[in-house]
């Protein structure tokens, strides 16, 4: 297991955002957390990347407990995140954003780094076209691609994607999901958080459904996608 979450509890003040959730992400898979607004999906991701503190439970990455590791050190361990709402550095150019993604890397003058940059620009040709443009002047879809590309530049073993389809046009959503599959097939494990359950379930190996801070269903993505109860609650009945 690449990532194991056990008995995780997270609070915002006195409010329990996450209650005792456990799941794991096997190496090489796409695992999805789906759920409605406020179910605790983003909190879960933020806790894995270290931006939120754990109240109880543990997070293990490659078998080691990382609960006490600072967020910036988790990047070095191999956890990259594309946060909710993209959060690109809007005053920097695309290239500078991608360079920020590689902040922890010491090999930025080597061919290995250039290969990774080429790989990311290959995944997102749009970023290549906009390489010297200020990120803040790009469209939402382009910024989403930049956020994902930036996260990939740290060469993560585990890529956390927080609602990559949020606010995007249907055509772009298709494109983003195709790229996620592509990233996964290149060897990066992906933990995806989505409200767009139809697309996410179709493309993930494992999926977990969160409701008010607890996991209520787990299973194969394809199984959940055809499950009547899940369909009724998250897929609008007939997808």
């Amino acid at each position: 297991m690449l990532l194991e979450v056990e008995g995780l509890c997270v609070n915002y003040g006195h409010i329990e955002a996450i209650r005792d959730i456990s799941f794991s992400v096997p190496e090489g898979t796409v695992t999805t957390l789906i759920g409605a607004n406020g179910a605790g999906k983003t909190t879960t991701l933020k806790t894995i990347s270290g931006l939120r503190k754990i109240r109880a439970g543990s997070i293990k990455f490659e078998g080691k407990d990382i609960s006490a590791v600072e967020p910036y050190d988790r990047v070095k361990l191999g956890i990259g995140q594309s946060p909710e709402g993209r959060r690109c550095f809007i005053g920097m150019t695309v290239r500078e954003n991608l360079e920020m993604g590689a902040f922890t890397r010491k090999d930025r003058k080597t061919a290995a780094y250039r290969d990774d940059l080429d790989r990311v620009l290959g995944l997102f040709p749009r970023l290549q076209e906009r390489i010297d443009q200020i990120a803040g002047t790009m469209s939402g879809g382009e910024q989403q691609m930049l956020a994902m590309g930036r996260a990939l530049m740290s060469r993560p073993r585990l890529l956390l994607l927080d609602e990559p389809s949020m606010g995007l046009a249907p055509k772009l959503i298709q494109q983003i999901f195709t790229i996620i599959t592509e990233i996964n097939s290149q060897g990066t494990t992906v933990l995806l958080v989505e409200q767009n359950a139809a697309q996410a379930l179709k493309r993930s190996h494992d999926a977990h459904i969160l409701e008010t801070g607890e996991i209520v269903r787990s299973g194969k993505g394809k199984d959940l996608a055809v499950d009547p109860a899940v369909k009724a609650a998250y897929l609008g009945g007939d997808v």
Binding site: L51, D73, P83, F103, T104, Q133, T137, S139
Partner: protein, 378 residues
């Protein structure tokens, strides 16, 4: 700036050299438009150089790292008092030994103040620093060991070069008559004697410090550290997700700023030869911040311009008595309205603005100038 960066390297170096030469020669030229009729021009220039130092230091904290510091005068005071204590009040150290100690003490005080406060975000930092600046001043007022209200005098001067009476050589100032320019052999600056009346050598010292800090600033800003500051300022959480230990970088910015502030205070104390708590009022923190904001926070050339204006204009118009303060205030209000990003905003802001402008024009139905601009809207 665009044209300048297109020039070949030797030409660029030559231009910068000429600009520096002009800056060093400024007090000797006594240019009629620039000179201050009601106060000693060289003294004003020295004050300008100190403001430039302060603005560069505060720009690192406010402009680069995005930390609002309303008590910057505190570090300035710490630098000044350290020099005063070591060279006069409780010791007789040579100034050149006291200055490094002063900047290190200022830097350490920056770490001590920053370590507990930089963990909180937003406005709290402004309040804490505001308090810090005042606490430093009040401690000085109430501590006999620091000279109390009376202050400290006979602060050490920089060492002279050459003979006390003539220096190594004497440099004449220019004299502007009616349509003629003469070398004024009675009005000379002795190279390099740090006396009471002639402020020119102090200005040279201040200017040299500005040049050195400016070079360090350019090196740091273009390094990994500068990029980390920028990321932290733009989005702290996102910066952490990139692997930036934001707290450490904020502390580094804070203490680097304190270092420069302490240096400015130390040079100021040496020139004045006398300091008391009145030299370190809250007003100065605000003026320093005004210099940074008016000039364009985040742009080193902007904040230098801002520092020049804030230090120079009130002296230039000293003849207008108190009206000059009113005019100064009006000028600040006008600037805040017309150029909210400062006179010279950072390049990024300019580029972003230009792009926005181009996109707006496209939206209004104009023909696209470049390929791909249309897709940018999609």
């Amino acid at each position: 700036m665009k044209k300048l960066s297109a020039l070949p390297k030797p030409a660029k170096i030559l231009i910068w050299f000429l600009i520096a030469l002009f800056a060093y020669a400024l007090p000797l030229l006594e240019l009629p438009i620039l000179s201050t009729p009601d106060s000693d021009f060289a003294s004003v220039l020295f004050t300008v150089s100190i403001y430039c130092l302060v603005a560069l230091g505060l720009n690192i904290v406010v402009g680069y790292a995005g930390l609002l510091d309303l008590g910057y005068v505190g570090f300035y005071a710490i630098g000044a008092y350290t020099v005063a204590i070591l060279t006069s009040f409780h010791g007789s150290w040579p100034l050149l030994l006291a200055i490094p100690v002063a900047v290190v003490v200022a830097m350490i005080s920056g770490v001590i103040l920053g370590a507990p406060t930089l963990r909180v975000r937003g406005d709290y930092l402004a309040i804490v620093t505001l308090g810090f600046g005042e606490i430093i001043r009040l401690v000085a007022v109430n501590t006999e060991w620091l000279g109390g209200n009376k202050g400290i005098n006979n602060i050490g001067r920089p060492p002279n070069l050459g003979d006390e009476k003539t220096g190594l050589f004497e440099v004449p100032h220019l004299f502007w008559g009616d349509g003629t320019v003469l070398l004024d052999n009675k009005d000379t600056t002795k190279f390099l004697i740090f006396g009471y009346s002639d402020a020119v050598p102090y200005y040279w010292m201040g200017l040299t410090a500005v040049v050195l800090v400016l070079l360090a600033d350019i090196l740091i800003k273009n390094s990994r550290v500068g990029r980390a500051w920028e990321a932290t300022r733009e989005d702290e959480d996102a910066a952490e997700l990139m692997g930036v230990p934001t707290f450490k970088f904020k502390l580094l910015a804070f203490s680097t700023g304190a270092f420069v502030g302490g240096l400015a205070g130390a040079l100021f104390a040496s020139r004045q030869s006398f300091i008391n708590p009145q030299s370190f009022l809250l007003l100065f923190s605000i003026l320093y911040l005004a210099a940074v904001v008016v000039g364009g926070q985040g742009n080193r050339w902007g904040v230098l311009l801002g520092a020049f204006l804030v230090a120079y204009l009130p002296e230039r118009f000293r003849g207008f008595e108190d009206f000059r303060v009113l005019a100064f205030g009006l000028a600040l209000v006008l600037l805040a309205t017309l150029r909210p990003e400062g006179l010279l905003p950072p390049r990024r802001t300019v580029r972003a603005k230009q792009l926005e402008h181009e996109l707006d024009e496209l939206e209004e139905g104009a023909e696209p100038d470049h390929d791909g601009e249309e897709t940018a809207r999609a």
